[in-house]
C-alpha cells in the first residue's frame, strides 16, 4: 500500500517532535551543562518519590 499525505504528515510530526526534544536536550546538557551530579549513593533520589522532581 502506498504512503498517503496523512501518513507522511503523521510521521513527520512525530520525527519533528523527537528532533525538538533532542535539540532541547543538547542545548541543556551539552551547551549549558545543566544537570546534577550525585557524588554519593545517599544523594541519589528515589525515582518513584514525587519529591525527587521538585523543580
Amino acid at each position: 500500500m502506498a504512503a498517503t499525505k496523512g501518513s507522511s504528515l503523521y510521521i513527520s510530526i512525530l520525527l519533528l517532535l523527537i528532533l525538538i526534544s533532542g535539540g532541547v536536550a543538547w542545548w541543556k546538557y551539552v551547551h549549558q551543562q545543566d544537570f546534577v551530579y550525585f557524588t554519593t549513593e545517599e544523594e541519589i533520589p528515589d525515582r518513584f518519590d514525587p519529591g525527587s522532581y521538585s523543580l
Binding site: M1, A2, A3, T4, G6, S7, Y10, I11, L14, L17, I18, I20, S21, G22, V24, A25, W26, K28, Y29, V30, Q33, F35, V36, Y37, F38, T39, T40, E41, E43, I44, P45, R47, F48, S52, Y53, L55
Partner: protein, 550 residues
C-alpha cells in the same frame, strides 16, 4: 563544574574516547560485536526493502524502525564509551527518546504490512498520545535525575519518565500481538497465516529480546545480558529476508543467498574485534547458531531457486516449440488460403474476359464484385505472408543500381487512376539530379506503393503530394496528404507488427496492420529510415523516407 566534581571525575581515570564510540571504557569488545552485528544487517535489509518501493508505507516504516534502532545503538555505544558526563546525559536522553520509537514504528510497520492499510485517524491519535509525555519530559529531570558519580560507572540516573517509556513499549508489543491474533483469525488466503505467524515471531523476538536484555541487565547488573538482547534484531532481519524470498513480500525479488551471505560476512568479520578467548567462545557460539539457521534457509532458498529455474527452462522450451508449431500452421493456412482465393479470382477474371462466353448483364456486377473482393483477399494474405517472412528472416534483398525518380514516378502513375476515382489530386514533384541508389526494386516498389496507397486510402478529399529531394548523402521521399491525420496515440502504434490505430481502423476496416511494419523493415534493410509526422486528427500526415545514396 565545581572543583570537587572535576576532581572526582579525574579520580575515576576514564580513558578518552575517539569518534565518540571507541574507547577502553567499553567494558568488553563484545559490545562492538553485538551492536554492529545487529545494526548493520538490520539497516542493510531495511534499505534494500525501502529501495524496492520508496513510496510504499510498510517500506518507509521498516526503514524508520531500522533507523530508530540504529540511533539507539549509536546512542548506547556513546554512553558506554564517552568519558564526558554531558555527552552521557545527552545520548542517554536520545536512548530514552528513541527506544519507544523503535517499538512504535515496529508496531506501525506490522499493522501496515499485515492489514495492507494505514491506521485510521483515531488509531493514529491513540498510538501517538503515549509518546507525547516521553518527548516532552525527555530533556527534563523526569527522564534523567542526574549523573551518577558515586561509583565511576559513567551512568545517568533514570527518572520516572524513563520508566514510563519502558511501560509504553509493552503497550506497543501487546498491540502487535493483538492485531496479529485478529489478522490470523481472519486470514483466508493460502499462506497468509504462515506469513502473519512468521512476521509476528520475528518482530516479537526482536522487541522482547531488546526489552528483556535492557531490563535484565539493570536488575542483575550483568552487562552481557543487554548485549545478547540485541541479537533479536538480526533474527528479525532473517525472518524478513525469509518472508521476502518465500512470499515475494515488499514486491522485491531478493535472492536469499545474497542477504544471508551478507549477514554471515558481517558476523564473521566482527570476530576480528574479539580479543579474549572467553569472549570468542561466546561469540562463536552465537555465530554458530546463526550459521545453522541461515545455512538451512540458504540451502532451502537455493534449492527453490534451482527448482524454479529448471521449471522455467522446461516451460521456455515448450513455449518455443508451441510458437514454432503455430508459425508453421499459420504459414500453411495462409498459403492454402492464398491458393484458393487466387484460383477463385482467376475464375472471376476469366468470366469477365469472356473466356466462357459473354456474361448476362445482370451477372456482371456480381462477378466484378467477386473479382474485387478476391483481389483484396489475395493482397491481404500476401501482406501477412510478407510480414511473417520478414520476421523469420527469410526475405533476401537483390540490390542493384536503381533510379528512384523513375521508380516512384511509375508507382504514382499506377496509383493515379485510383486517386482520380476518389477525386484526389495525386501529384509528383521530382527534384533535379541523380536519384540512383542501391536497392531491391521489387521490395522498394512494395514499400513505396504501400506508403502512397495508404495516403490515398486515408485521405477522403484534397490532395496527396509525392516529392523527391536529393541531399549530399541521402535521398528523401516525402508523401504529404490532407487526410485524416494521426493522433499521438495512433502514432505510437505505427510501424509496429499488427499495430492498428484506433482512428485509422475507422477509415480502413480491412487494414491488416502489417503494411507499415513491412515498409519499415524494407527501408531499414536498405540502411534507411522511415517515419511519420502529423499535427493530429484531421490535420493530414507526412510520411518521410530517407535512403543513402550509393
Amino acid at each position: 563544574m565545581s572543583p570537587v566534581i572535576a576532581e572526582l571525575i579525574q579520580s575515576c581515570e576514564w580513558a578518552p574516547s575517539q569518534f565518540l564510540v571507541i574507547s577502553d571504557n567499553v567494558f568488553s569488545p563484545l559490545l562492538y560485536y553485538s551492536y554492529l552485528g545487529s545494526v548493520i544487517p538490520t539497516l542493510l535489509i531495511a534499505l534494500f526493502i525501502f529501495s524496492k518501493g520508496p513510496k510504499r508505507l510498510p517500506n518507509q516504516l521498516i526503514l524508520l524502525t531500522a533507523l530508530s534502532f540504529a540511533a539507539w545503538v549509536f546512542g548506547a555505544m556513546v554512553t558506554w564509551a564517552t568519558e564526558t558526563p554531558a555527552y552521557t546525559m545527552f545520548f542517554w536522553t536520545i536512548l530514552v527518546l528513541v527506544e519507544p520509537l523503535v517499538y512504535f514504528f515496529a508496531f506501525y510497520f506490522f499493522y501496515a504490512f499485515i492489514y495492507k492499510k494505514d491506521l485510521s485517524v483515531w488509531q493514529k491519535v491513540f498510538f501517538a498520545i503515549p509518546l507525547i509525555p516521553v518527548m516532552v519530559l525527555a530533556p527534563t529531570r523526569f527522564a534523567l535525575l542526574g549523573y551518577d558519580l558515586s561509583n565511576c560507572d559513567r551512568n545517568a540516573y533514570e527518572g520516572i519518565a524513563t520508566t514510563y517509556g519502558y511501560i509504553i513499549e509493552i503497550l506497543y508489543a501487546v498491540s502487535i500481538l493483538l492485531f496479529a491474533a485478529l489478522a490470523f483469525i481472519k486470514a483466508r488466503k493460502p499462506g497468509e497465516r504462515t506469513m502473519i505467524a512468521l512476521l509476528t515471531i520475528g518482530i516479537t523476538a526482536f522487541l522482547l529480546s531488546f526489552s528483556l536484555g535492557n531490563i535484565l541487565e539493570v536488575f542483575t547488573e550483568n552487562w552481557y545480558i543487554g548485549q545478547y538482547g540485541l541479537f533479536g534484531a538480526p533474527i528479525f532481519t532473517a525472518f524478513l529476508a525469509y518472508l521476502i524470498v518465500r512470499f515475494r513480500a515488499f514486491n522485491a525479488k531478493l535472492i536469499g543467498a545474497q542477504a544471508l551471505v551478507a549477514a554471515l560476512w558481517i558476523l564473521v568479520l566482527a570476530l576480528l574485534f574479539i580479543r579474549s578467548v572467553e569472549n570468542i567462545r561466546v561469540v562463536v557460539s552465537i555465530t554458530l547458531i546463526f550459521v545453522l539457521i541461515l545455512g538451512v534457509l540458504l540451502v532451502r532458498s537455493v534449492y527453490r531457486e534451482i527448482q524454479q529455474r529448471e521449471r522455467v527452462e522446461v516451460l521456455a522450451k515448450d513455449l518455443e516449440t508451441a510458437n514454432q508449431q503455430q508459425i508453421i500452421l499459420i504459414h500453411f493456412i495462409t498459403h492454402q488460403l492464398k491458393g484458393f482465393v487466387t484460383k477463385s479470382r482467376n475464375v472471376f477474371s476469366m468470366l469477365l474476359e469472356g473466356d466462357f462466353g459473354s456474361l448476362p448483364d445482370t451477372m456482371k456486377p456480381m462477378v466484378e464484385e467477386g473479382l474485387r473482393s478476391d483481389t483484396k483477399g489475395v493482397n491481404t494474405i500476401q501482406e501477412i505472408l510478407n510480414a511473417a517472412n520478414i520476421k523469420s528472416g527469410k526475405v533476401t534483398y537483390a540490390k542493384s543500381p536503381l533510379d528512384l525518380k523513375e521508380l516512384v514516378g511509375s508507382i504514382v502513375a499506377d496509383l493515379k487512376p485510383g486517386a482520380d476515382t476518389k477525386g484526389l489530386a495525386l501529384t509528383m514533384k521530382g527534384g533535379d539530379g541523380d536519384f540512383t541508389i542501391q536497392g531491391d526494386r521489387m521490395q522498394l516498389t512494395n514499400a513505396f506503393k504501400n506508403l502512397i496507397d495508404n495516403s490515398i486510402k486515408y485521405t477522403p478529399k484534397g490532395s496527396v503530394e509525392v516529392s523527391l529531394e536529393r541531399g549530399e548523402e541521402k535521398v528523401r521521399l516525402l508523401i504529404k496528404d490532407t487526410g485524416v491525420g494521426i493522433t499521438p496515440e495512433d502514432m505510437r502504434l505505427l510501424f509496429t507488427e499488427g499495430g492498428h490505430g484506433k482512428e485509422s481502423q475507422k477509415v480502413n476496416v480491412e487494414s491488416t496492420g502489417f503494411g507499415l511494419y513491412i515498409v519499415k523493415n524494407i527501408i531499414e534493410a536498405h540502411q534507411g529510415k522511415v517515419w511519420a509526422e502529423s499535427d493530429g486528427k484531421d490535420q493530414g500526415s507526412r510520411f518521410i523516407v530517407e535512403l543513402p545514396i550509393s
